[in-house]
């Protein structure tokens, strides 16, 4: 998958900016605050119809009343135009100039795998960060997953609201709670099954990605830690009514799931150093790219923000070698390209950013 051209209008600190991109590595070089992250965020938002950190309105350039991101994207069998228009009161997504109403019909047209500074918390941060990251990934490759997850979350809100109401009653009638519990269990099972399958799939490619980047003999793996391990999800949830009514919230389910990372049998959450974490996360990102390639027969666009700090120059160059794989497109921000091999620089496109203005260097 290849973004051929991207135009930003009133997005963050960009007033009007068009870039022509190709295959291979694109270095976005600039000082702090120049707008490097903003460019990657624009591509992320175009792919997923929302940002990873802020409300839509924050994406609009100060004093403007809308922001627009447009791109022409080529994939193996078709050429598409995507645009996303964001205003204070809402957003509009267009695919080839036709408005798309359902999120699940929009997401998945432009596959991305991203590493943003926030993602450093993937290993030691909260379970919610990990769930969010992998939910975003699965939503891109599996439309059913996104729909199932959306319905799950909605049913969960209904059930939590009902728990609040019932907890105030001396002798609550649980007929409706039974119904919502069965609905919730149905969707929970589908979400959990897909997450479980995903972890199996990723483990098939994760260790070789780690070896490629770290050049070490340790084995990297990932496990899925579902909040509900019982085989009968409905019966399990029904056995927790008392606890749920006291807490006035649903205590178990995919919204409490987690994932763990290991180097050999060491739990990375407890043991990994900053440098090891970065290597693991970048290995994971390469593995996610490989997995998309297996499923979709096409590589995602890699968005890598400030990946080089805390990574020795050998690993930097190994990562960059990977990004020069045929038909792969990567957009990589950095403050400098000094430590990068001449052979890689020669093949790459280089863009300088200053103050919301990008210029290609030839």
């Amino acid at each position: 998958m290849m973004i051929q051209k991207i135009t930003l209008t009133n997005f963050r600190n960009y007033q009007k900016q068009t870039l022509t991109l190709g295959s291979g590595i694109h270095f976005i070089i600039g000082a702090n605050g120049a707008g490097k992250t903003n460019l990657l965020e624009a591509l992320y938002v175009l792919s997923l119809a929302k940002s990873y950190k802020v409300e839509d309105a924050d994406l609009i350039r100060y004093t403007c009343d809308f922001a627009k991101i447009q791109a022409s994207v080529a994939s193996q069998n078709r050429q598409i135009d995507l645009s996303l228009i964001i205003t204070e009161i809402g957003k509009k997504a267009l695919l080839n100039d036709h408005e798309i109403k359902r999120l699940s019909d929009y997401i998945g047209n432009l596959h991305i795998v991203s590493f943003l500074p926030e993602d450093m918390s993937l290993i030691k941060g909260s379970p919610g960060d990990r769930r969010y990251y992998f939910d975003v990934f699965l939503s891109q490759i599996d439309k059913n997953y996104l729909e199932m997850l959306t319905t799950y979350k909605y049913t969960l809100r209904q059930r939590n609201e009902l728990l609040k109401k019932l907890s105030a009653e001396p002798k609550p009638d649980t007929t409706l709670l039974d119904v919502l519990t069965e609905q919730l269990a149905f969707h929970a099972q589908q979400v959990m099954a897909r997450r479980d399958e995903f972890v199996k799939e990723i483990n098939d490619v994760l260790n070789s990605a780690y070896k490629r980047l770290a050049h070490k003999n340790e084995m990297m793996s990932m496990t899925y830690c579902p909040s509900i391990e019982a085989t009968d999800t409905t019966a399990f949830l029904k056995s927790k009514y008392h606890q749920d009514l006291v807490a006035r919230i649903t205590n178990y389910g995919p919204h409490r799931d987690d994932y763990d990372f290991y180097l050999d049998d060491r739990l990375a959450r407890n043991h990994a150093s900053q440098g090891e974490q970065r290597t693991m996360i970048l290995s994971l990102i390469m593995a996610l790219g490989d997995l998309i390639y297996q499923i979709k027969k096409e590589r995602p666009v890699f968005l890598l923000d400030d990946v080089f700090s805390e990574l020795d120059s050998e690993r930097q160059n190994r990562l960059l070698e990977y990004l020069t794989t045929a038909n792969l497109q990567a957009i990589v921000t950095t403050t400098s390209v000094q430590e990068i091999k001449e052979t890689i620089i020669k093949k790459a496109k280089i863009f300088r950013v200053t103050n919301g203005y990008i210029k290609e260097e030839y």
Partner: protein, 199 residues
């Protein structure tokens, strides 16, 4: 203010309708002034002010009606052994247009949704239970929408009536998931009614 006060007042009345924003309301208000004579306006305002006193809920099925019971409940040619449960009066109008259903209805006026403050007590459910205990009732068709709320409502009713001597069926067939009944066209709807499955 750009518009004279009288027009402004009319505009804000039109804006109370769902889906009508300021621009449309302005167009309606100007159209009213330009194209309606006094006689037409009197008819309009009479129809409007009388609507609540002329229309009420049928005491049997809950449908909106001018007579109580409603024309459907009073019609001797309707099959009183089959009751179809729907979320809204709009659904009754849609199904009646399809001309495929000869039974009678029960209108819930909503679907179970704790987030919207709608529990069993807030819906028109209390009058359903005695209705279906009458011996002439043989089948209950649940035609709530295929949304999370519609499904929850269908499952709830199933729970309550499961031990009664009654054929319980569900339509949803042909109605795409996440679609409210009112968006289903008449053809899919009649197909859905024919293909109802027992539940």
């Amino acid at each position: 203010m750009i518009y004279p006060e009288a027009l402004e007042e009319l505009i804000s009345e039109f804006m109370k309708y769902p889906g009508i924003g300021r621009k449309t309301a302005e167009r309606y208000a100007l159209y009213t002034v330009n194209h309606f004579d006094q006689e037409a306006l009197d008819r309009f305002s009479q129809a409007l002010s009388a609507i609540k006193s002329r229309i009420g809920r049928c005491r049997i099925c809950g449908h909106l009606t001018e007579t109580d019971p409603c024309a459907i409940c009073q019609d001797p040619n309707r099959d009183k052994s089959v009751i179809m449960v729907v979320e809204s009066p709009k659904d009754v109008f849609t199904i009646e247009k399809s001309n495929k259903f000869r039974g009678i209805y029960h209108v819930l006026h909503g679907a179970l949704s704790p987030l919207d403050g709608l529990g069993p007590d807030e819906l028109n459910l209390a009058s359903l239970w005695p209705r279906i205990q009458q011996s002439e009732v043989k089948e209950l068709i649940i035609a709530t929408s295929a949304t999370q709320e519609g499904e929850a409502t269908a499952m709830y009713i199933q729970r309550v009536v499961k031990n009664m001597d009654l054929l319980l069926t569900r339509i949803g067939y042909g109605v795409p998931v996440g679609t409210n009944l009112e968006y289903a066209d008449e053809k899919t709807l009649s197909k859905a009614i024919e293909n109802r499955r027992s539940f």
